[in-house]
């Protein structure tokens, strides 16, 4: 039996500091069996999970993996010691799930981004091309850049959701942007030739 929970993205970006303390209450409610509370956590963190996955797995696989990640989190929520650290805990589950995806796909067949993005529209194809460039950057820069440009999160919001230090997120965004500019410039030159 499946139970559908509606999504509401409105409350995610407005007041992240308030939501940190609210997370603990939502986690407690989920532990008590409240499905709606988990739906609110899903609304608040689905962008982060999507962005982290997008930095690691093919675009076409991300949506299904987002669902998987939240189901894993729901099953393991009893193991979360500090309910205020739900975001970092979920980010860790997401990264592990992405690694698991690659481990499994190695056993079957390597799914390339070309296959995964075969049916996308032209703007999406161009976006996917840029996304691939970002995914070739060092690992530390990928996540913040994707969360910033794809998911539209601000730097402070990225730091708060993922549990990373704001200073390091800021540095990674700026350094990553610098590298991306270099790569994008190189791509344009290749195209011109």
């Amino acid at each position: 039996m499946l139970h559908a929970i509606g999504t509401n993205m409105s409350a995610t970006a407005s007041s992240p500091q308030v939501e940190i303390s609210a997370d603990a209450a939502l986690v407690a409610a989920v532990r008590a069996g409240d499905r709606d509370a988990f739906g609110r956590l899903y609304d608040a963190y689905s962008r982060m999970v999507h962005g982290i996955l997008l930095a690691r797995v093919p675009y076409g696989e991300v949506d299904d993996l987002v669902q998987d990640v939240f189901l894993v989190a729901l099953r393991k929520i009893e193991s979360l010691r500090d309910a205020n650290l739900f975001g970092p805990w979920l980010a860790m589950i997401t990264r592990n799930r992405a690694m698991d995806f690659h481990r499994r796909s190695r056993d079957t067949a390597e799914l390339t981004d070309d296959i995964a993005t075969a049916n996308v529209t032209a703007p999406e194809a161009e976006a996917t091309e840029v996304l691939n460039l970002i995914r070739q950057l060092p690992e530390a820069y990928r996540e913040p850049l994707i969360l910033r440009f794809v998911e539209g999160m601000t730097g402070p919001e990225i730091a708060e959701r993922t549990g990373l230090a704001p200073a390091s997120v800021r540095v990674n965004i700026h350094r990553g942007m610098k590298l991306l500019r270099e790569r994008l410039g190189g791509t344009k030159i290749e195209r011109e030739h």
């Binding site: 039996m1 499946l2 139970h3 559908a4 929970i5 509606g6 999504t7 509401n8 993205m9 989920v30 532990r31 008590a32 069996g33 499905r35 988990f38 739906g39 899903y42 609304d43 689905s46 962008r47 999507h50 962005g51 997008l54 675009y59 949506d63 987002v66 669902q67 939240f70 189901l71 729901l74 099953r75 929520i77 009893e78 703007p123 999406e124 161009e126 976006a127 996917t128 840029v130 996304l131 994707i146 910033r148 440009f149 794809v150 998911e151 539209g152 601000t154 730097g155 402070p156 800021r170 965004i173 700026h174 942007m177 991306l180 500019r181 994008l184």
Partner: protein
């Protein structure tokens, strides 16, 4: 460097704005989360199993409390008598008074600082110093404050039975019911003789040192 890249404040740079527009097409499209019925964590009522209570902090707290109580009971009853019984004896014998209780409490806190006079409890019923405090507190709580006249009468009646005879043998003192640490051990004739010899030797040494000091002073003066 533009703040827009960090927190979206200020004017965006052209390439940053272009990237936002381009990559925004790939952003997460909200869709409902399907939660299987068996995926929800079990509630507290359904989760509790006979063994699960052992993993709870409440159980740990109760166990530690129980252990503390048992240890306390063992310490109290180790000498064969509970403080309540001792207290009852003390109260029946009338050997405690308000002022004595205060002194006994002082003795309980710093047993070495207590004077022999301050304890007027028989050896048979005298609690150990660490037990005094609890007993005194319990006694203070149980008994009501006597009038000054009663206190004086009780004090006269309860003259300390401390045996302060210098030469009384220790066994005799113990039999009298006074506490051992209140009594000075008498000296035997041999001990007394040895002490006198030691004192004589010390006196001789002191005299010799004085003589030497005087000689040195005189040499110093004549040298000047």
């Amino acid at each position: 460097m533009s703040d827009y890249l960090w927190d979206k404040t200020g004017e965006p740079e052209d390439d940053v704005a272009q990237l936002e527009n381009l990559l925004g097409a790939l952003k997460y499209q909200p869709r409902p989360l399907d939660i299987p019925a068996d995926a929800m964590p079990q509630t507290a009522t359904t989760r509790s199993t006979p063994m699960s209570i052992f993993s709870r902090p409440r159980f740990a707290l109760a166990a530690s409390l129980l252990l503390t109580l048992l240890a306390g009971a063992w310490l109290i009853t180790r000498d064969g008598e509970s403080p309540t019984k001792e207290l009852a004896k003390v109260e029946q014998g009338g050997t405690t008074s308000e002022s004595k209780r205060t002194e006994a409490a002082t003795a309980a806190i710093a047993p070495n600082a207590a004077t022999p006079k301050s304890v007027s409890v028989d050896n048979a019923v005298a609690p150990k110093p660490r037990e005094n405090k609890a007993i005194v507190v319990a006694a203070a709580a149980k008994t009501h404050r006597p009038s000054p006249r009663q206190l004086v009468a009780r004090r006269q009646k309860l003259t300390p039975r401390v045996d302060r005879r210098m030469n009384a043998p220790l066994e005799e003192v113990a039999a009298n019911g006074t506490m051992r640490w209140q009594v000075e051990r008498p000296m035997t004739p041999q001990q007394r003789e040895a002490t006198e010899q030691l004192m004589l030797a010390l006196r001789l040494a002191s005299a010799k040192l004085n003589y030497a000091q005087r000689e040195m002073l005189e040499i110093g003066r004549s040298g000047k």
